[in-house]
Amino acid sequence: MWSFPLHPPADSSLATRVDHLFYAWLALAGIVTFAIFFLIVYFSAKYRHDSRANRAMPSGATLRRESHRIEIAWIVTPLVLFLGMGFWAAGLYYAHAAPPADATEVYVVGKQWMWKIEHQSGQREIDELHVPAGRPIKLVMTSQDVIHSFFMPGFRIKQDVLPGRYTVLWFTADHAGEYHLFCTQYCGTDHARMIGRVVVLAPAAFERWLASGNASPSMAEEGKARFRQYGCSGCHGASASVHAPKLEGLFGRRVQLSDGTSVIADERYIHDSVMLPRKDVVAGYEPIMPSFQGQIAEEDLLEIIAYVKSLRDAKPGDIR
């Protein structure tokens, strides 16, 4: 009879663990709720004004002592149980917070009202995310306009995507299948239509999918083209006459800034250096880089970032 699902299909070990937590809470909350409902009904029936139940209460001091004991019991017991659940949930959250170092990166740009997805290999998708089963996938996400949220109920995860910032979400899909993708931070008229699907393919099928469709350059290759298109090599290339920070080997390194502080050169750093170049000026350099705010779309910037990432092992002078 009960063919009604209580949870969406689960396709990751995290999803299953979240379901366990949910059902544990359901049980605990159910017990507490049932206990309260039961007591209310029981006391209401037993102590109806016209019932002959025994209403004698112990005297003052005894009553106070007993009441105290009961109160302590029903404060401490729920506190311990609830906090226990809280720590369980926090532990699960913390354990899943950082993506594994070998996760495959996929880039996501949310905009009103679609999800634009780009794989490292250059494959682009709209409102669909193809991933291989069994491999950790790390989504690096940003928004082109307002705050959206990337929600995959099948994996029990979501993350808001913000303009001007990168947020990260990672998961490992267990089996092939199709799952919902929803935008779940209200973003305007077609918020309810900013939906799609996550398609999990067996690894071999995924490789076939990657290879199918129009052969497109990888993100890093696209990024190199953009790097030239926007004139970046004019200052950052080997033959530049302008004194500009070298980008070879930059990504992931610590950079000293002109105000004495230092930052790690990550996606956000590159993004801000292009859009808000006066913000993190490198020590020893003049703040003369122009801003590309409004000129470079977020997806193009992601490609440039992929290119800079690919220069991690490059040597100075490699950029022409």
């Binding site: 002109s258 105000d259 808000l276 006066r278 913000k279 000026v281 703040p287």
Partner: protein, 213 residues
């Protein structure tokens, strides 16, 4: 001879009325602190985001006029406190004098602030209207000046209300409404005035002294 204290219908006696008014004013001051507090949080978060911009922008404010104004407002708090004390002691002439001095100093503050605004206009530092500062951190500098005009403008509005209240209270004093037994309006006005002063004491270093060490 002072008039007898009028006790409103809901109160038992004049003492209860005075204590209720006092507590009411303190609660109101708490709301003002939280109101400006939200603004200070916004300032802090924005400054932490781009400290260099704020340092640059702060150097473009007129620290001389700002410091003079701080002195003016602190002095006005002194005259306000003296006005409350004089009223408590039944010294009507002194209390009117100190109240007028307080209002005058408040008006002086507004005048100096207005001069600063005019100079900021000439230096093209007014966001939305004529902001034309170029150079490092231009965006952050504009945000700083947006906060500068917002906070000092809001403060000025509160000061104007304070000056008007002081004027009303001075008139009441002139009409012999107060005595050592009844001076609640003066006391409450004093509390409000000190709050406006305290807000400025926080604004001054946050706006003028960011990088002037």
């Amino acid at each position: 001879m002072a008039e007898a204290v009028i006790v409103a219908r809901q109160f038992d006696d004049a003492e209860q009325q005075r204590r209720a008014s006092d507590l009411g004013m303190w609660v109101f001051l708490a709301t003002e602190i939280l109101f400006f507090g939200g603004l200070f949080v916004a300032y802090t978060a924005t400054r932490l985001h781009d400290p260099q911009a704020f340092a640059t922008a702060s150097r473009l404010t007129n620290v001389t006029l700002g410091s003079i104004n701080t002195g003016v407002l602190l002095t006005s708090s002194l005259t306000m406190a003296l006005a409350v004390r004089a009223t408590k002691l039944g010294l009507r002439r002194a209390s009117i004098g100190f109240l007028c001095a307080t209002a005058a100093l408040g008006i002086a503050f507004l005048g100096i602030k207005f001069t600063e605004y005019v100079r900021d206009w000439h230096e093209r530092l007014v966001p939305v209207l004529n902001f034309a500062h170029v150079g490092p951190h231009a965006g952050g500098v504009e945000t700083f000046f947006y906060l500068y005009f917002f906070t000092t403008g809001l403060h000025a509005i509160h000061l104007i209300i304070g000056i008007a209240t002081v004027a009303v209270v001075a008139t009441m004093a002139a009409r012999r409404r107060f005595s050592p037994d009844y001076f609640t309006p003066v006391e409450l006005t004093g509390l409000y005035w000190h709050l406006v002063d305290v807000v400025w004491i926080f604004l001054y270093p946050l706006l003028y002294l960011v990088a002037r060490t």
